[in-house]
């Protein structure tokens, strides 16, 4: 039996800086995971990924990453790799996204 679909965000790296980006509810891109749209429907998630993959002049390597809904309704990453992607390297707390958080 196929595994049940779990909620996802669409994520990629920005073409110019390589920074991690997430698709927002309006289809634009954010640097913040908390602003990502959480896709709870599989077809919708796949359509959004297909749409992202067409935006070659903006981004590189779009994919769907598991996420869950926090109490405040915002998405939160599941896997530790995705958690690191929301922050930056752990050896330099002033480098990457975490510098501005």
């Amino acid at each position: 039996m196929a595994r049940a679909f779990t909620p996802k965000v669409v994520t990629a790296n920005a073409l110019l800086e390589g920074d991690v980006i997430y698709m927002k509810p309006n289809g634009e891109w954010s640097r913040l995971h908390s602003e990502a749209k959480l896709f709870e429907d599989e077809t919708e998630a796949n359509d959004a990924l297909a749409h992202a993959s067409e935006q070659a002049s903006l981004l590189v390597g779009a994919y769907l990453a598991d996420a869950v809904k926090r109490k405040d309704g915002k998405p939160e990453p599941v896997h530790f790799r995705e958690v690191f992607r929301t922050k930056g390297p752990s050896n330099y707390p002033d480098h990457g996204k975490q510098a501005e958080l």
Partner: protein
């Protein structure tokens, strides 16, 4: 130091121009990422977890002050003020922006550097003993050979699309500081019965998913036969390597599956043909390369030994630095200084732009303008007068570069791991930092003695964990970081692959687990002179497994 000729300059300049145009076409949408990716990788540009990464080749780990200052300039202008020296004697910049990379490559070209062949299924940057030209135990400086190989392998049309990446390392000394037995081809200079210098050729070593110690296919190869012989090895590999399976595509698998006798006869057969076709490089070309690696004119005025020993004896920190961070030089008035890029709690291999300039200044003032990068992620001043040590130490101390830990527990190799690398399955840098912090007392580290801890954040083993006395491999176990321990690895002339101890440890458990191994070693060693590796070889893995797993059970 090899200086580019017009051919080299034109070649690098043209490649940089091509790449600039390729970046422009990517940015204006004429190239897709699928089209652009192989082009950027050919020029050392990766896309990592948080940003792009530019990997710059430092051929055979040799730099001068001008090049080092330019590396500092790149770090300050286009990165976040630092660079990361790697286990392949390269430097990586972790934060370049795509549009800036062509300018970075032009700036590198100004000092005869580039990022070509630091990625892809080609012959990568040739690495060498970081003490080359300075070590007391050397037969010959291996760098003229390494430079010949650089010229031969750069853009070599036959070897641009090998089954997989291909790494060559060379040492000129019987004591192997270049891990030649863990490379696709390892070259060790030796002599025949007539006393002529030549090469022992070792093939099929490698770490990664399937670690292998290389096999000797030629005990003695005359120097003039090197290129046809290596072409024979590469032709055998290119035709027979496992292109069907990425994980079996390295030459080590071919050597293992074919058997060393069979592969040797295949190589020898092609070599005979290749030799007859091959035009040896003209003698004047070899001489011209060799002339660029002549030793400096050493200042051999006698040292005032009394004065020097008094200065050293009066300063315990200096004494400790001299004991730990210097090695025997071929000239007895001189010494080799290793500058540790492993400050307690720091990131192994990182240096700031300011620190790079300090090292460049020291090389210029005291070191005949020579610097080396070691595969152990440190920087070497290969030739300094022993009576300059107090001044050098003072400058290093002021720059935060005087950690006296070379060869000790906190002189850890670590790959970038999941803090940077898109392939990583776990973090490695913070494990190195926490281990270093846990054993911050250098006196304690000295008591523990020579110990090589090597950490990789995935099975690809860029952190050389298989050849660490203690190796740590970070994996993703059901969504949690898990660290496997191997013991008894050795990357020298007595090379060995470490043995796995058993189940892995969580991120929180790994540092205490290493602590238990160290405690057990201190209990069981015969005396202070028995190193960890010697003790391990005497008693085997069991006492350490016991320390790792039974005390864990008791604490549970």
């Amino acid at each position: 130091m090899y200086e580019y000729n017009q051919f080299d300059r034109d070649f690098v300049e043209n490649r940089n121009k091509q790449f600039r145009a390729q970046v422009e076409r990517r940015l204006d949408g004429s190239l897709t990422e699928d089209e652009f990716k192989p082009l950027r990788l050919m020029n050392g540009l990766y896309l990592q977890l948080h940003a792009y990464m530019l990997r710059v080749a430092i051929p055979y780990g040799t730099l001068n002050s001008r090049k080092m200052r330019q590396l500092a300039y790149l770090a300050d202008k286009w990165d976040k003020g630092y660079g990361h020296f790697t286990t392949r004697q390269n430097i990586q910049y972790n934060w370049p922006k795509l549009k800036d990379v062509p300018d970075m490559l032009d700036a590198l070209g100004e000092v005869e550097m580039h990022a070509i062949q630091t990625s892809g299924n080609c012959i990568r940057n040739v690495t060498a003993d970081h003490f080359a030209g300075a070590a007391a135990d050397e037969i010959e400086d291996p760098r003229p050979t390494a430079e010949l190989l650089r010229q031969w392998s750069t853009d070599h049309p036959e070897f641009q699309f090998l089954p997989r990446k291909f790494k060559i390392a060379i040492t000129g000394a019987p004591n192997d500081r270049a891990v030649v037995k863990a490379h696709d081809i390892g070259i060790q200079m030796n002599r025949n019965e007539a006393g002529e210098p030549g090469y022992r050729i070792i093939v099929g070593g490698g770490l990664g998913r399937t670690p292998m110690i290389g096999k000797t296919v030629r005990e003695f190869l005359p120097k003039e036969d090197l290129l046809p012989y290596l072409e024979a090895i590469l032709q055998v590999y290119n035709l027979n390597g496992r292109r069907d399976n990425k994980y079996k595509a390295r030459i080590k698998i071919l050597v293992h599956e074919t058997g060393v006798e069979e592969i040797t006869s295949m190589i020898e057969e092609v070599f005979e043909k290749q030799k007859s076709l091959h035009q040896a490089p003209p003698a004047e070309m070899i001489e011209a390369i060799e002339a660029q690696f002549l030793p400096p004119e050493f200042d051999t005025r006698p040292i005032d030994e009394d004065k020097l020993s008094k200065i050293i004896a009066a300063d315990p920190l200096l004494r400790s630095f001299v004991e730990t961070n210097t090695d025997l030089h071929r000239e007895d008035t001189h010494t080799i200084v290793t500058i540790s890029l492993k400050p307690i709690g720091g990131t192994p291999g990182d240096a700031t732009g300011d620190q790079m300039r300090v090292m460049a200044n020291l090389a210029e003032a005291y070191g005949y303008d020579e610097l080396r990068i070691s595969h152990e992620q440190n920087v070497i001043l290969p030739h300094v007068r022993r009576d300059d040590l107090p001044e050098i130490f003072k400058v290093l101390k002021d720059a935060g570069l005087a950690t006296a830990n070379v060869g000790l527990l906190s002189d850890i190799i670590a790959c970038p791991g999941m803090d940077y690398c898109a392939l990583a399955t776990a973090r490695s840098i913070p494990v190195a930092q926490e281990l270093s912090n846990a054993f911050e007392d250098l006196k304690r580290q000295k008591d523990i003695g020579p110990l090589k801890i090597k950490i990789s954040g995935c099975i690809n083993a860029c952190g050389h964990h298989h050849v660490g006395h203690i190796g740590i491999l970070g994996l993703d176990k059901a969504g949690v970081e898990s660290y496997q321990i191997t013991l008894g690895g050795d990357g020298t002339e007595t090379a060995a692959i470490g043995e796995r101890t058993g189940p892995g440890f969580s991120y929180e458990e790994i540092v205490p687990a290493i602590g238990r191994i160290i405690d057990r070693y201190l209990e069981l060693r015969e005396d202070g002179s028995e190193t960890f590796l010697e003790a391990y070889r005497r008693v085997g893995a069991d006492p350490f497994k016991d320390a790792l797993y039974s005390s864990e059970a008791e604490n549970a």
